[in-house]
Amino acid sequence: MWPTLSGMPVLLRQEDFTGLDRAVDEREARLQLRRQISRLEAELAGLFGDAFGHTEVPHQVAAAATAPRVLDLGELEAVRDSLADRIAEARRALVERERVETDNRELLRKMLVAPRDYKWVRVTRADIGEPGCGAWHSRPWLGPIGMLMGWWRVKVSSGCPLAGRLAAVEHEAEARTAGFLA
């Protein structure tokens, strides 16, 4: 006999599924979701490491609970989906950053060929995805004379400031604060 409409809610009640081993199925589903979470977490960790120092990637997934406990199916799904979203966003951020770095490398190439077409343009190593503090700066030869004559060149900076020099700057700033220097 077909169930009547009024009988449907009874059919859908959770306790009526106990004879069908629904609890076992749910546990399997939870285990499957936990496996997916572990795989996604590894992927996100890799993207975070790749992006560090180049761009900021969204990697935070809000806590599903205030205290440690066994999460239910819905909560695990929410964690899994949030991790998948973060991975997609992180991938997008990395692709976008890669595009910017490629454009900057192309700009640098053109700038090195024709510095006067890129007056005062400065490209740092970070802009092209390289480590370190160097920069390429399009500047005139001999200051104002070069500007008037159209003599432009790309000057490569000498890299990161030395620790001793930074310390000297800090000491000078402290001395100024203390009123020892004008």
Partner: protein
């Protein structure tokens, strides 16, 4: 593990004790476990060899390693477990990541005295999550179980939400799993025996757990 360390570990007495995990919890989290050792040791200032070891560890730990830490198998396993129990490992840090972050923030591993320094050395070297308790306060064996209705954490929470994962002895919870320790169970000035407990999750090999416990216990015993 070095050959000398392996030889010393083979003759290690007492061997670590394996705790109990509630069956319905372990069926959800296969590989979850707790093991601990009890050591005759008093809390106090760390001796020079321990502080020197912390300095050596600081010199061996770099920012780039801290960034890539989450990709290494054991720290990753703890991050995954944190996600699975509802914690955000970027907010509630796993023990090894917290130490790496502190190292970057403070410029070195700061000595916090014993037993904290012994635990820090073992955690940084192995990545395994360790906790210290006052061994004389623990009744029977340690276990991992969920909280019962109306159960609280002494000095921390009068009543925990039912199902909260805890480390417990045979009487009551002694601390939240990866959370605060209940009042009266932490190591205090009067402690004369210290229980060092390792929490194992799926993906953390047994050998790493044993080495972490051995390392922490040996540091405490030598002090």
């Amino acid at each position: 593990m070095s050959g000398v360390a392996a030889e010393q570990r083979m003759g290690w007495d007492p061997a670590p004790r394996q705790g109990w995990v509630a069956p319905h919890i372990v069926s959800e989290f296969p590989g979850l476990g707790i093991a601990w050792v009890e050591v005759d040791a008093k809390p106090g200032r760390s001796p020079e060899p321990v502080r020197r070891r912390l300095r050596d560890l600081s010199d061996r730990t770099y920012g780039s390693q801290a960034i890539r830490l989450r990709e290494r198998p054991i720290p990753w396993a703890y991050r995954v477990f944190f996600r699975q129990i509802g914690l955000d490992p970027d907010r509630t840090r796993t023990p090894v990541e917290q130490l790496a972050l502190d190292r970057l923030h403070d410029g070195g591993f700061r000595s916090k005295g014993l037993p904290a320094d012994a635990l820090d050395i073992a955690i940084v070297e192995t990545g395994v999550a360790l906790r210290a308790f006052d061994a004389d306060s623990i009744v029977g064996s340690l276990c991992i179980r969920d909280s019962a209705p109306g159960e609280g954490l002494a000095g921390q929470e009068p009543e925990m939400a039912q199902g909260t994962l805890t480390i417990a002895d045979e009487m009551r919870p002694v601390g939240l799993l990866f959370g605060p320790t209940a009042e009266g169970y932490g190591v205090h000035h009067g402690s004369r025996r210290i229980a060092v407990a390792a929490i194992q999750v799926k993906g953390v090999p047994q050998i790493a757990v044993e080495e972490a416990l051995w390392m922490a216990a040996a540091t405490l015993e030598a002090a």
